[in-house]
Subunit: 372 residues, 2 copies
Amino acid sequence: MGDKELDHRKLIPEEKERIEDEIVRFFEREREALMDDERAQTLLDLLQEYTLRGGKRVRAILVVLGYMAVGGKDVRKARRGAVAMELIQDMLLIHDDMMDQGPVRRGGPSFHRMYEELHRKEGLRGDPEAFGRNMAIIAGDLAESYGERALLDCGLPKERVQDALGIQVEMVRDTGYGQLLDLYSEVKEGWTEEDVMKVHRYKTARYTIEAPLLIGAALSGPPDVRARALSEFGLPVGTAFQIIDDIIGLYGDPAREDDKSKLSDLAEGKRTLLIIKALECCDEEERDLILSALGDSSVTEEKAEQVRQIVRRTGSLEYSRERAEHLTRQGIKALDHPGLDPKVVSLLKGIARELVGRADRSGDYLKPHAVP
Amino acid sequence: MGDKELDHRKLIPEEKERIEDEIVRFFEREREALMDDERAQTLLDLLQEYTLRGGKRVRAILVVLGYMAVGGKDVRKARRGAVAMELIQDMLLIHDDMMDQGPVRRGGPSFHRMYEELHRKEGLRGDPEAFGRNMAIIAGDLAESYGERALLDCGLPKERVQDALGIQVEMVRDTGYGQLLDLYSEVKEGWTEEDVMKVHRYKTARYTIEAPLLIGAALSGPPDVRARALSEFGLPVGTAFQIIDDIIGLYGDPAREDDKSKLSDLAEGKRTLLIIKALECCDEEERDLILSALGDSSVTEEKAEQVRQIVRRTGSLEYSRERAEHLTRQGIKALDHPGLDPKVVSLLKGIARELVGRADRSGDYLKPHAVP
């Protein structure tokens, strides 16, 4: 590895740790600023545990990398601002789990479940489930306000912070549009490939890759051509990330079998690119089988396996995979911009390859491909 | 009425209309900025109708008055920023109604009910109620991001906008803490007067009066002693407002019988100052009666009437009323600050007297009092 390349496998765990230190500091400051009330303190304690419990901090790391990519020097302050992404992520996960009634998150109870347990443990009056749900709505709303607070207080120049906040607000809005479309996908007939790609773009690509990089870049200086290059990297790679995630969601990831159920995407009735393309190319009988599995909360592994075989046979799996690889290549190419820091570019390329490479470990349905 | 006094009864309806024009413009801009998707357009249409359907625009008007009170001259731009308060209010009401499963808001269906109806009308798949609830979570989150967008785009200097946004973010956070405490009030034994006053302070006083005034002032210039005077007006008057609201919530407002049920506060189990004080002073039998009415979703008018009589007999009603009047007087006095625009001061005093005067119309339990 040359002097101009950094190993993302080494740098990223280090950066992750520094971000987690900043998360702890953020909660310490919030606790001090807080009215002296133990019930509100409890919420902060639970939210801190929830935030630190798991997660790869990809979005926060990308804020820091976006900042460094365009030459930002005050990395400590950018990192303080990057904590915002983890808090916004809390908001989305807490509200999402409440919508799906998901019981588990990051290897522990989901947030509404944490308050349900607290209700039972403290022997409070009324319905524990309603209490958990209502607390989750409030906690999510609070987490969003914490996300803005973290960015507002990062200590970088006001003009920079305001530009970054503008991007963050747009990102939250677009993620909301993506979620809205996603809800329709569960209830509306005639879902198309265009719809799927729109959801990916809004719900994942902007939110997971593009916006964090742009927020980081905005913390360093006003938008210029380099921000555009980051955007042209982030959107396709983010879309590829979601496509791969959907492959793993159906075929599983042997490395983390416990983390991601191979049945939950089907049980939730998710209209993924895999499913849409398979429905386009399968026969009547197969179509009925897929539709009967979609949204069936007690779908069996046997039926799921039949769906997997149809998705494979119709070429839909290969189509998704090739699309993800093409998008990743396209994104990686956009990074070849002379104004971007070459060390950071090399890191981002490594991250992109890693993201798409996850599918190589997904079941034995897929043979490894190399992404340049 | 002297030259230095403006009639709030005339100015406020005019200002309300101008703010509503700005709300329409805000939604027009959002529609243009929006991805070309009819489902997202539908959400904006529904949210615009919901926002404009009712409401007194008190908070947005207070932003404008806060701006003018400290000498702000570009009122049009401040008004554009003030729209944020109405959007944040949307977020809180949408999520609140979802938590309580409230069917009605501002004389029409609550937001989750609007999407429930849409689900039925369009013959979508799945459970209409779940669809309505999930859409309400997303729409509330979107409304919060719109609230930030409105302030970010108001066109006033960046430094001013950032200060104002910092106050708005704190306000959303504190309202969240207030809601959190309020949820505990429904499930925890031993609720105290101190708890009640804390909820009032966080959930209502900051949010309804103090923060809007401070946001307006911050849009004009950096914080100074005048902001402190506005704060010393807003917190007590806002607390008084909530106490009066709770009186109306139990005894009713004959002028608007349709708008506010005299039973819903009891049915929801709200621990108001009225209830807490009555519980402190009543006998065992009365105590059992109050506790059996609280949180009983099918509480009868007859039982409610018994609770009203206990609250009156124990002196709790008079205690609440006197406390509200004292707080209002205290707030009004804080406005006598030479740096504040005297016309605006006179208007704010008029608004405060109006707010507390609402109780004079509440049932025949109360004789009119004059607030200086």
